[in-house]
């Protein structure tokens, strides 16, 4: 079955290569505030960058220092070592680390003599009328620049078609996650994450076809039983092997709340025909993907608790990337809120490289043991 390739988390750039070979452009994106729809409407393939499997980011470290987030550093490494061969990079000021991926890649690619379309947009950190208006203007600037790059004008009709395409993906991913609510789901947490991160490896049409194939076959898959239903929250997590370590110790990850899982997709975009770009701006700025914003913490906490209840979660693993400040301070209010509803939380620190798998296994085992009693 061809959908099996969705479970191979290795970064695969074959689709982007084929896309570019046909004379079209493909650009990388980092962070959840770069709307795929605008890029796609310009006839450009958006490639959500990830760093899965990066075991050595030393070249990037020389640019970003050891004090940087290893996820960001590893993405820069993949750009520098040619794992990703694309036409450019589109970035928001999501948090300070991706901002520096942008700066360093713009600088290094110039030194390497590469012709790159590097474009940064500002994504406000509070959501209200004035900030949505600003963000919309930023998106208009992006749309104009992309139109110039590809020669395809970004029109309302093009944006609506792109929204429809990506909404279909959102719908299918929602179906995937619905499967995880079952008492004995047919998909593990590691498998589900693998499927979701593969989004960045394919064109929308290819990904839709693979998702459909998987969902059609899901009923034939063997149900999985875990000793404790878990949810993983925290910094960007693009490595299913990390979840595998936890699941091998008896945990079953049925939900997650980080920018590579369900949050990367979210609800469908509802388009106002009179303001298509404005609808996209409101959607992307308004959804609570990450505590990079200053006004969404209570809402994020509420959503985590509601999701935990909906998925029958018994315990939460809060995995913070070292040097990730955005996800750094959530425990202060979240932990007591979770305690109130009887959900314990385990805090762990991680790096992009699977450097502390042994320690994670021990802590996960103890956590599962505690929940299983």
């Amino acid at each position: 079955m061809s959908y099996e390739k969705l479970f191979d988390a290795t970064v695969c750039t074959e689709s982007a290569k084929a896309w570019r070979a046909s004379g079209k452009k493909a650009v990388g994106t980092v962070c959840c505030h770069v709307p795929y729809e605008i890029i796609y409407a310009a006839g450009v393939l958006p490639v959500r960058l990830r760093a899965t499997g990066c075991v050595d980011s030393s070249d990037a470290e020389s640019w970003m220092s050891s004090f940087s987030c290893s996820y960001a550093r590893s993405i820069l490494q993949y750009l520098m070592n040619g794992t990703y061969e694309l036409d450019g990079l589109i970035q928001t000021d999501g948090c300070m680390m991706p901002t520096r991926i942008f700066d360093n890649w713009e600088h290094v690619s110039k030194k390497q003599g590469k012709d790159q379309f590097c474009y940064q947009i500002g994504a406000p950190r509070i959501t209200k009328d004035i900030t949505i208006k600003y963000y919309k203007n930023e998106l208009q600037g992006l749309a104009d620049a992309l139109s110039k790059l590809s020669g395809t004008a970004v029109t309302d009709a093009g944006l609506k078609a792109a929204v429809e395409k990506y909404n279909e993906i959102r719908e299918l991913v929602a179906q995937l996650n619905e499967l995880r609510k079952a008492e004995k789901p047919v998909v593990s947490g590691a498998e589900a994450l693998a499927i979701m991160i593969k989004f960045g490896d394919y064109t929308p049409d290819e990904y839709i076809a693979l998702l459909k194939e998987f969902l059609a076959d899901a009923k034939n898959r063997k149900p999985i039983e875990g000793r404790a239903r878990l949810m993983v929250i925290g910094s960007a997590l693009d490595n299913p092997d990390y979840l595998k370590v936890i699941e091998e110790k008896g945990g079953l990850i049925v939900a997650e709340d980080n920018c590579f899982g369900e949050r990367n997709f979210g609800e469908k975009i509802v388009v106002d025909d009179n303001d298509v770009l404005g609808s996209i701006a409101s959607y992307y700025l308004g959804r609570n993907t990450c505590p990079r914003s200053l006004d969404n913490r209570p809402a994020i906490h509420k959503e985590i608790i509601e999701k935990a209840k909906a998925y029958g979660v018994q315990g939460i693993i809060y995995a913070k990337m070292q040097n990730c400040e955005c996800w750094g301070g959530e425990a202060y209010y979240l932990e007591p809120a979770l305690k109130e509803v009887g959900i314990p939380m385990l805090q762990v620190e991680r790096e992009e490289q699977m450097a502390n798998a042994g320690q994670l296994a021990i802590r996960a085992e103890a956590f599962v043991e505690m929940l299983d009693k």
């Binding site: 220092s65 004090f67 942008f102 950190r125 509070i126 990079r292 006004d295």
Partner: protein
């Protein structure tokens, strides 16, 4: 072995404001008793700064805590006393016991990698040891991700009306106008907070405050020009004191302090003298500290002066100058230029936007201040500036031919690196790379 000095009674809650006022007052009294009138102005300003906060309510004013770049002049026009929360960490950075008390508190809940500027102020808030109750909290979405942990938490801890300025990464017309539009929204919020109207009286008050702020920034520019002279007459540590302009722009007291500094500097220059600790007639090295000021060890600048004749002429995230508001009767221009000044203050101008902005700051410093020693005094909490470090230092090497020393420090937490270790690192660089003579070895 000398007993460590205790800055507070650890068995009792600390009252941060009272404690600071007492400490500043005892320095003041000490200097009075020793008869040091020529430098009293350096303490006068600190006394004013902290006592204004302590006495805000007694004086019938609203006390407004703030973080990041906010329009301080407007706060003052609405009869509020602005309390810049960063002054807590910068004030206590040299006091290991007090600093660790607050930093350790924050680290119970937040990562150790968080910036200690934010850890210290957040810890003070979490322990409820500010010693004052705020009427409001105004903050921005910059400078960094650490602040973005601290501010939302403090909002909830302070439990008072809050206003957030969203500061964009772009420091261009679009960005300035965006912030200016938020200033427009800030005015009715202030009206509601204070019960005062945005009427002719308030506008006149703002004009008066802006005139004073302009004056202060004009002097600051002249002080910058003075530092460009060879030899540099003002010591490195004056750069630290001048940061007090952030909460005090628009007051007479900050004008007096800057004016006195300027007069003294000019007088010394006229006499062919300097107020630095460089050996007489020996000031071969002009240092740029490219990142944050090292508040936890400002004495290192004195040591560099004494030991190598190396004067810190400017710091990368300091005040090179300020925005002068040109048309004080034109509200649209006032808003726009206030927005400009918000996005061009220290730490914001070079560090919150693209690295390219930092390079502009570098050019200004290296071209105008005749820098010949480059030190990346890298605050470990400032991870995003470390992540620009190679671009910046390569640029300096290629354009100015100066190799840069990287030193990792904690600008606030003195426990991170000992004075001896820091001196050894800088000393090795000065002697082996720069080829500096160690004057103290002669003594």
């Amino acid at each position: 072995m000398a007993e460590a000095r205790q800055n507070f009674d650890p068995t009792k809650p600390v009252n941060m404001i009272e404690l600071t006022c007492d400490q500043v007052d005892s320095i003041y009294q000490h200097m009075l008793s020793k008869g040091m009138p020529e430098i009293m102005w350096t303490v006068d300003i600190q006394k004013f700064c902290w006592e204004e906060i302590r006495d805000a309510h007694k004086n019938g004013k609203k006390l407004v805590a703030f973080g990041g770049p906010v329009p301080v002049t407007l706060l003052r026009a609405f009869d509020c006393v602005p309390f810049f929360l960063d002054t807590i960490p910068t004030r206590i950075a040299s006091m290991e016991d007090l600093c660790s008390r607050f930093i350790d508190e924050t680290e119970k809940y937040a990562p150790t990698s968080m910036c200690a500027i934010d850890k210290a102020q957040l810890g003070c808030a979490l322990k409820n040891e500010m010693g004052v109750k705020f009427d409001a909290f105004v903050h921005a979405t910059v400078p960094c991700d650490s602040a973005r942990i601290a501010y939302p938490l403090m909002e909830r801890v302070f439990d008072c009306p809050c206003f957030t300025f969203d500061c964009p990464f772009r420091h261009d017309d679009k960005g300035f106008q965006y912030v200016a539009d938020q200033i427009e929204q800030f005015v009715p919020w202030l009206e509601e907070l204070t019960g005062l109207k945005w009427d002719d009286e308030r506008r006149a008050k703002l004009k008066e405050i802006n005139e004073k702020a302009n004056k202060a920034y004009e002097i600051l520019i002249q002080l910058g020009d003075l530092r460009k002279k060879k030899p540099c007459v003002l010591p490195g540590r004056m750069l630290v004191l001048n940061e007090i302009i952030a909460p005090l722009a628009g007051t007479d007291e900050v004008i007096t302090m800057l004016q006195t500094q300027l007069e003294m500097g000019n007088m010394l220059a006229d006499m062919g003298m300097t107020a630095t600790r460089c050996p007489e007639g020996q000031q071969p090295y002009r240092v740029c500290l490219m990142q944050n000021m090292l508040w936890s060890n400002t004495g290192i600048m004195d040591w560099m002066e004494k030991t190598y004749g190396a004067i810190t002429v400017m710091d990368g995230f300091g005040y090179q100058d300020g925005v002068i508001i040109e048309d004080l009767d034109n509200w649209e221009r006032v808003k726009y230029q206030t927005a400009q000044s918000m996005l061009l203050v220290p730490m914001i101008h070079g560090a919150t936007g693209p690295t390219e902005y930092w390079l502009r700051v570098i050019d200004k410093m290296y071209d105008e201040f005749s820098v010949n020693v480059s030190i990346f005094m890298g605050h470990v909490g400032c991870k995003h500036t470390w992540a620009s470090g190679k671009i910046v230092t390569d640029y300096i090497q290629e354009k100015y031919g100066i190799p840069t020393l990287y030193v990792d420090v904690d600008a606030i937490d003195p426990r991170y690196k000992s004075n001896d270790e820091l001196r050894a690192q800088i000393g090795e660089y000065m002697e082996s790379v720069v080829g500096a003579h160690n004057f103290r070895k002669d003594q």
